[in-house]
Symmetry: C2
């Protein structure tokens, strides 16, 4: 972990360009001529991000969807994706899932690279989007007095994962085929003070937003829409829901369906307060992708 932190620190030292707002867990935002581009790159590794033996169509879907979700949080319209693919046994299924997700969101495949390798496979997507509103929303813009909102329901991906793991036959699409909220992100982008997608769990991502914005965020757990009320804390800690977490000035209504779950406060003892309890450390709040 500290080796990883060291490396990311050295990358941050290299990423001095103003476009590199949030290396390595946020998008790059780049002015090109009269346009503003949003670029993101996410990798999935067998054994880390998906289990060996997974349906590769679902791996492909999710790989593209998580990158499009990053664009959604920036209010960006996808322009296309590049694929980096380590070839393997289920490439036909992978191609099928890729075709499905690209068609579902009307996103072209622009190019990429294929390589063969031994051992666990990795798959990368670079997604390119065009900002529909500038300044492009970031996680660092939350202002004291803003209200905190989240779209949809948290924990649905967790239940999907459990259904898949336990072979219950229950629907697992929320986990396997997440839906990037591109239209919602575009509708929100002109109004929000801060926005990000909930990829690693509501609590961890809210912690990060508070930290990036140098404020505290207070969340009222009773307000948080969860997929299973008996396991509300699990639902708030589980990632993979790809809902949008955002803040709005107090006099602004959300232009999309969303639930108000808390408020932005002056930076206090901790970045995050859950029902008034300070949460000091991101460890254990959610899922940290390694």
């Amino acid at each position: 972990m500290s080796r990883e932190a060291d490396f990311i620190q050295s990358l941050r030292a290299l990423a001095t360009h103003p476009a590199a707002r949030g290396l390595v867990d946020d998008c790059a935002v780049l002015e090109i001529g009269s346009e503003t581009l949003v670029l993101t790159h996410d990798i999935m590794v067998e054994g880390t991000h998906y289990l060996a033996g997974s349906d590769m169509a679902e791996v492909a879907w999710k790989l593209v969807a998580v990158n499009l979700s990053d664009l959604a949080a920036k209010g960006a319209q996808p322009v296309g994706v590049l694929l980096g693919q380590m070839l393997g046994d289920d490439d036909a299924r992978f191609a099928q899932g890729l075709a499905e997700v690209l068609a579902a969101y009307d996103v072209p495949l622009l190019g990429g690279d294929t390589v063969s390798g031994t051992g666990p496979r990795s798959h990368g997507i670079t997604a390119i989007g065009r900002a529909t509103h500038t300044p492009v929303p970031s996680r660092s813009g939350a202002q004291v007095g803003d209200a905190v909102y989240v779209t949809g329901t948290l924990g649905a991906a967790m239940l999907g994962f459990e259904a898949l793991r336990d072979g219950t036959g229950a629907d697992h699409a929320a986990y396997s085929r997440p839906q990037p909220l591109l239209a919602e992100g575009r509708a929100l982008s002109a109004h929000v003070s801060a926005m990000m997608d909930v990829s690693d769990g509501l609590l961890l991502d809210a912690f990060r937003m508070a930290d990036a914005s140098a404020v505290s965020i207070g969340i009222n757990s009773a307000e948080v829409p969860v997929a299973e009320s008996a396991r509300a804390l699990d639902c708030m800690r589980w990632g993979d829901d790809y809902q949008l977490l955002f803040t709005l000035p107090p006099d602004v209504e959300s232009p999309v369906p969303a639930t108000r779950i808390g408020s932005v406060e002056p930076r206090g003892f901790a970045p995050l307060f859950l029902d008034g309890e300070p949460l000091l450390n991101p460890e254990g709040l959610g899922y940290t992708h390694k």
Copy 2:
């Protein structure tokens, strides 16, 4: 191999956007507002593209350099890169090499993703460039009657690889730290009818250019500048030199130092003729990255 070909075929079927000119071995060219962007993504895998135990600073250099070489062949000015990095033992050396190559070519790191994984590591770079001339040069524009040129000397990377492999102590920079010809590519882009970088060997890449252009290319081996004349054929088959291969109309002089090595002829019996001998099949002509 046929599984790989099937997958690439299914990717090509998806890549119907006009930007996806050459999936999966060429750049995407994308009109964005008043600008034309060039995008490329290349991966290096431990054990396939570099040996376990390699100096990771050199792996990082080469990874960036090969992507910048793709931009060079399009006459594009780099805007930045995104890194997809599987973390491992030598990340500090990797970061050092990354810093060196980005500084050498004044290219910013814009973002990316880091993941941990087990087994052989993979590393991806997405490079984004801005075209300096449109139409952007492609490998498919060679015209009958054009002259065929190559920059620099071929086989230097081969000799560097052998020096490194055999521990002779001889200079291996041509293999380990290739120099993308960005300035040369920009100078050429307004003049060439076709251009590509020599990544997989002169013969294989010339074969591909002829095929893409629906012409034949005749190369006169005595004219080809090679690093070791006793092994001229090896030098023409070895990849990794990252020189520029291009065609010019007969009345146009090359604006950069380059050697005329042949000519473009009507499509004949084979895409490529070496000293008049037809070369029908790309297998064995050069290095095919798997």
